[in-house]
C-alpha cells in the first residue's frame, strides 16, 4: 500500500510538475517546477527499488543542477526577453508564444504516436511482474559494478566531470573587454 501510495504521489508530482514547467511563463517558476519533477522521479526510483539512484538524483539535481539553473537565471536577468531578431515567425518572446507552442505540440504528438507504437510492443513482450516487498540493498552491488565491470566508464565520467568543472570555470570567468 505504501509503495502504491508513493508511486501515485510521485507520478502525479512528476507529471504535474513537468507540465507546469512547460506551461508557466516564468523561468524561475519553471525551474522550481523542474525541481518538483525531479523529486518525483526520485520517488519513482524508490518505488523501483533503486534507492541509491534515487538519492543520487536528489543529491545531484536538487543540490546541484537546480541551484545552478537558478543562479544562471539570476545572473542573466531572469526576465522574459523579447527577441530583436530576424525570426521566421516574427517576434517570439523568450518563453515562447502560440506559434512555438503549436509547433512543439505538433511535434510532441508525432513523438507520442511513434512511441506508443513502440511501447505497445514492449509491454506486450514483457507482461508486468508482480512486485514483492523485496528491495535488496543495491549500494554494494552498484559499487562492485562501478569499479569492476564499468570501471572504464566510471573513470571516464570522472574525467568528464573534472573537465566540466574546469571548463565551466574558464568559460564563465569574466574577461576584460577588448
Amino acid at each position: 500500500m505504501f509503495i502504491e501510495l508513493l508511486f501515485l504521489t510521485s507520478a502525479l508530482l512528476t507529471v504535474g510538475s513537468a507540465i507546469g514547467a512547460a506551461v508557466t511563463r516564468n523561468i524561475m517558476h519553471s525551474c522550481v517546477f523542474l525541481l518538483g519533477s525531479l523529486l518525483g522521479i526520485a520517488g519513482l526510483y524508490a518505488t523501483l527499488g533503486a534507492d541509491f539512484v534515487a538519492v543520487s538524483q536528489i543529491m545531484v539535481y536538487v543540490g546541484g543542477v537546480v541551484i545552478l539553473m537558478l543562479f544562471a537565471v539570476m545572473l542573466t536577468g531572469g526576465k522574459d526577453f523579447v527577441s530583436r531578431a530576424q525570426n521566421l515567425l516574427g517576434l517570439a518572446p523568450a518563453m515562447g508564444n502560440k506559434w512555438t507552442y503549436t509547433i512543439g505540440l505538433l511535434t510532441a504528438l508525432v513523438v507520442v504516436l511513434t512511441n506508443v507504437k513502440l511501447i505497445t510492443n514492449v509491454v506486450k513482450a514483457y507482461p508486468a511482474k508482480v512486485i514483492g516487498n523485496d528491495f535488496p540493498s543495491t549500494v554494494n552491488q552498484i559499487g562492485h559494478l562501478l569499479v569492476k565491470e564499468h570501471v572504464l566508464a566510471f573513470e571516464l565520467s570522472s574525467v568528464l566531470l573534472l573537465g566540466a568543472l574546469v571548463g565551466a570555470a574558464i568559460i564563465a570567468r569574466p574577461r576584460r573587454q577588448g
Binding site: L88, T100, T107, V110, V111, T114, K117, N121
Partner: protein, 732 residues
C-alpha cells in the same frame, strides 16, 4: 653467461637516456647535466666490461658468439615473406670494441667536464656527446648492415653538430657542412651496397651474408654488368672510405678539428672514423670474394703516406694530430687490404687509445695556454709535466717504438704488407703498398717528434707575437707566466690512465709483440687468438636465437696448437714460414726507420744541425702546406669548372633552346586557341552556364533558405519528424 635485454640494452640505452634528458632538461640541471652524460657512459662501461670479461677472460678463448634477433616490423603478405629483423651480434671483436669505445668515451667525457667548463656551449656539447657514443655502441652491437647504417647516420649527424658547435664561427659551420657532405658521398654508396645485398639475399644480417658466401649464392649474380660481390664490396668500401676519411674523401677530417678538442678526440679516436674500418672488417669475407683487397690496400697506402707528408709541415698542433689520424687510418685500411685482419683490428684499438690521449693532451695544452700554433709554444715540459709524460708515451706509441702498442700493431700490419707486396706472387706493381707503408712509418716518427720537440722542449716562445713560420728563432722573451700543472682528476688523470694503456704488452701479451718475451705466460696472447676473420662455413644453417631464450649452442675452446700457428694473416695461408720471415724483416726495418725519423727530428729541432724542411725544399713545402691542393681541386675544378659548367650548359639549354622554341612556340599556338575559347567562354559558359546556374541556385535557395534556417529548434523538429517517419516505415 645469460644475455638478455636487461644486460645488453643498458650499454646503448643509458647514453640515449642521458641525451634525451640533457636535450630537454639539460639547462635546468646543475652543471647543465654533464655529470649525467658522464655517469651514463660509465654505466655503459660497466656493462661492456662485463661482456668483455665474459668473452675474453670468463670462458677464455672460445669462438662463441651471441646473436639475438627480434622482428622489427613484418611486412609479409601472403607468400611474400618480408620481415625486417633487428638484433644484437656480439663476438670477441664486439666485446673488445665495446670496452674500448665506452672506456675511451668515458675518459673523454670526464676530461670534457674540465675542458668545457664555463663554455657557452657546455650544455649542447654534453647533449650530443652521449648520443654520439651511444650511436657508436649501437653500431658495434648491431647484427645487420641496415641497423649499422642507421647508427652510422646518427653518428654523421652528431659529428656535424659537434664540429659546428660554435655556430657563430663561420669556419666551424663550413667545416661541419664539409664533413657532412663528404661523408654523405660515401653513405650513398654504402646504402646502394646494402640495398643490392638486400635485393639478392633478402637479408642484410651479417650471419646471413656469411652463410650466403659459404653457400655460393653470389655466384653468377651481376649488377649492371659487374659481379654482385664486387659491386657490393666496392660500394660498402666506398662508404667506409667516406667515414674513415680515405683518399680521396679525406678532406673533411682535418677540418673536423674546428669543434672543441674533446669532441675531436671522440671523432678521431673512439668513434666515427673507426666505423669505416669496422664495417670493412665485418664485411671482410665479401671483400675477399669481390676481389677488391688490392684496391683497398692501395687506397690505404696512398692515404697513409700522403697524410704523413702533409703532417710534416703543419703548424697547428691539432692539425698535426688530425693528419696523423688520417695516416694511421690508412694503416688500418692497409691491414684490411693485405689480409692482416687481426693486426688491423688491433691497430683500431691501440690507435683509439693513444690518439684519444694525444688529443686530450693537446686539449689540456690549449686550454691551459690558449694557443695552438706550435711555433708560439715550446718549453712546456717544465710547466705541464703530467701532460708531457702522457703525450710522450703516446708519441712513442704512434711512432712505432718497441715496447709500445703502436709498434705491436703497426709492425704486424707492415709485416703482412711486406709479404703481400713481395712474397705472395701478386702483381709486382703492388709492391708500392709496403714501400709507401714503411716510408709513412718513418714520416710518422718524424712529424710526431717534431710536434713534441716544438711543443715541450726548447725555449718558451709564448708572447712572442711577431713569430711567423715554424723555424723562426728570434730573440726569446718570456710572455705571461704559465701556471704549473697540478694533478687534477678531470684534467690529467684521464690522460695518465690512457697513457698506461699505450704499453704494448696489454695487447700483445709479449713485450714487443713478436712472442719473444711473454709477459703473462702462454695463453695471454689473447688478442691474436680471439680475433680472426669470420669463418663463413660456421654460419650455414646456424640457428637463430630469439630474445629471452637460453643459449644452448656448443662453445669450442680454441686449442693450444692454434695459439702457436695463429699469425693474424687472414688470407690463404700457403707457407707460414715466408710470413714469419716477412714479419721479422718488417719488425727490424720498422725499428730502424722509426729511429731514423726520430733522429732527424732531433737533429732538426733540438740540435738545429740540419736545416728545416721549409728552407730546404720551399716549393715542396708549399705544396704540402696546401695539402696537395686537394681542397682547391675540389672547389676550383670539380665544383666550379665541372658542376658549374654543367649547370651553365643546362641553363643555356633551358633559356636558349627550350624557352625560345618550345615555350614561345607553344604560346603562339595557345594564343590562337585562346581567342576561340574566349568566345566560347563568354557566350556559352558565362551567359548560359554561370549566370544560368546562379539564377537556378537563387530559385532553389528560396526553398532551402526556409529549411536551412540555422535555428536549432527547427532542426530538432526535422530530426523528430524524420526519425518518426523512419520508425513508422520500417515497422518494428
Amino acid at each position: 653467461m645469460e644475455y638478455t635485454v636487461g644486460n645488453i640494452a643498458p650499454i646503448f640505452l643509458a647514453p640515449v637516456i642521458a641525451f634525451v634528458i640533457n636535450a630537454f632538461f639539460g639547462r635546468k640541471l646543475p652543471r647543465q647535466g654533464d655529470w649525467l652524460a658522464t655517469l651514463s657512459i660509465f654505466i655503459s662501461f660497466i656493462f661492456s666490461a662485463r661482456i668483455f670479461g665474459d668473452f675474453v677472460f670468463g670462458t677464455f678463448a672460445t669462438d662463441h658468439f651471441i646473436h639475438k634477433t627480434f622482428t622489427w616490423f613484418d611486412l609479409s603478405h601472403g607468400a611474400n615473406i618480408w620481415k625486417v629483423n633487428m638484433g644484437v651480434y656480439i663476438d670477441n671483436m664486439t666485446a673488445i670494441m665495446l670496452l674500448m669505445v665506452s672506456g675511451v668515451a668515458f675518459l673523454i667525457h670526464l676530461f670534457s667536464t674540465w675542458y668545457m667548463d664555463h663554455d657557452e656551449k657546455h650544455g649542447r656539447f654534453f647533449t650530443f656527446l652521449p648520443l654520439f657514443t651511444s650511436a657508436m655502441l649501437g653500431m658495434v652491437m648491431s647484427d645487420n648492415l641496415f641497423a649499422l647504417f642507421c647508427f652510422w647516420e646518427v653518428m654523421g649527424f652528431c659529428s656535424y653538430s659537434l664540429i659546428g658547435i660554435y655556430v657563430k664561427k663561420e669556419a666551424a659551420g663550413d667545416a661541419s657542412l664539409k664533413a657532412f657532405m663528404t661523408t654523405r658521398i660515401g653513405d650513398v654508396f654504402l646504402l646502394l651496397g646494402i640495398v643490392a645485398l638486400w635485393m639478392v639475399l633478402g637479408s642484410v644480417a651479417y650471419v646471413d651474408i656469411y652463410a650466403a658466401i659459404a653457400e655460393g649464392k653470389f655466384a653468377g649474380q651481376t649488377v649492371i654488368g659487374i659481379s654482385l660481390a664486387t659491386f657490393t664490396a666496392l660500394c660498402i668500401f666506398l662508404g667506409a672510405m667516406g667515414k674513415s676519411a680515405q683518399f680521396p674523401l679525406h678532406v673533411w677530417l682535418p677540418d673536423a678539428m674546428m669543434g672543441p678538442t674533446p669532441g675531436s678526440a671522440l671523432i678521431h679516436a673512439a668513434t666515427m672514423v673507426t666505423a669505416g674500418v669496422w664495417v670493412s672488417l665485418r664485411m671482410y669475407p665479401l671483400m675477399v670474394l669481390g676481389d677488391i683487397t688490392w684496391f683497398i690496400a692501395v687506397i690505404g697506402a696512398i692515404t697513409a703516406f700522403g697524410a704523413a707528408t702533409v703532417a710534416m709541415v703543419q703548424t697547428d698542433i691539432k692539425a698535426v694530430l688530425a693528419y696523423s689520424t688520417l695516416s694511421q687510418l690508412g694503416y688500418m685500411i692497409i691491414g684490411v687490404g693485405v689480409g692482416s685482419y687481426n693486426a688491423a683490428f688491433m691497430h683500431v684499438i691501440t690507435h683509439a687509445v693513444f690518439k684519444a690521449c694525444l688529443f686530450l693532451s693537446a686539449g689540456s695544452i690549449i686550454h691551459t695556454v690558449h694557443e695552438q700554433e706550435m711555433p708560439k709554444l715550446g718549453g712546456l715540459r717544465k710547466y705541464m709535466p703530467y701532460t708531457h709524460f702522457a703525450m710522450m708515451a703516446c708519441t712513442l706509441a704512434i711512432a712505432g717504438i718497441p715496447f709500445f702498442s703502436g709498434f705491436v700493431s703497426k709492425d704486424r700490419i707492415l709485416g703482412d704488407a711486406l709479404y703481400f707486396g713481395f712474397m705472395s706472387g701478386q702483381n709486382p706493381l703492388l709492391a708500392i703498398v709496403p714501400i709507401l707503408g714503411f716510408a709513412g712509418a718513418g714520416l710518422t716518427a718524424f712529424y710526431m717528434f717534431r710536434m713534441m720537440f716544438l711543443t715541450f722542449y726548447g725555449e718558451n716562445r709564448m708572447g712572442h707575437h711577431d713569430a711567423h713560420g715554424e723555424d723562426h728563432h728570434g730573440d726569446h722573451h718570456h710572455g705571461h707566466e704559465i701556471h704549473h700543472e697540478h694533478l687534477d682528476a678531470r684534467q690529467n688523470v684521464p690522460l695518465l690512465i690512457l697513457a698506461i694503456f699505450t704499453l704494448g704488452f696489454w695487447f700483445a701479451g709479449s713485450l714487443t709483440g713478436q712472442g719473444i718475451v711473454k709477459v703473462f705466460g702462454e695463453k695471454t696472447e689473447w688478442f691474436k687468438v680471439l680475433v680472426e676473420a669470420p669463418k663463413v662455413e660456421r654460419f650455414v644453417n646456424h640457428p637463430r636465437e630469439a630474445w629471452g631464450s637460453t643459449d644452448t649452442r656448443v662453445k669450442t675452446e680454441l686449442t693450444k696448437a692454434r695459439y702457436d700457428h695463429q699469425t693474424g694473416y687472414a688470407g690463404p695461408n700457403p707457407d707460414e714460414h715466408k710470413i714469419h720471415t716477412a714479419h721479422v724483416i718488417g719488425a727490424i726495418a720498422s725499428i730502424i726507420i722509426a729511429a731514423l725519423g726520430v733522429l732527424i727530428a732531433f737533429l732538426m729541432y733540438i740540435k738545429k744541425s740540419i736545416k728545416p724542411l721549409a728552407t730546404r725544399f720551399p716549393g715542396y713545402t708549399e705544396v704540402l702546406r696546401n695539402k696537395y691542393y686537394f681542397d682547391n681541386f675540389y672547389i676550383d675544378v670539380l665544383i666550379k669548372k665541372g658542376l658549374l659548367g654543367f649547370n651553365r650548359f643546362l641553363s643555356w639549354f633551358d633559356m636558349g633552346i627550350f624557352d625560345r622554341y618550345a615555350v614561345d612556340g607553344a604560346a603562339a599556338v595557345n594564343r590562337v586557341l585562346f581567342k576561340a575559347s574566349k568566345w566560347f567562354d563568354n557566350v556559352v559558359v558565362d551567359a548560359v552556364g554561370v549566370d544560368g546556374t546562379g539564377v537556378a541556385v537563387n530559385l532553389f535557395n528560396l526553398v532551402l533558405r526556409i529549411i536551412q534556417s540555422g535555428k536549432i529548434q527547427f532542426y530538432f523538429v526535422m530530426l523528430v519528424v524524420v526519425l518518426a517517419s523512419y520508425i513508422w516505415t520500417v515497422n518494428i
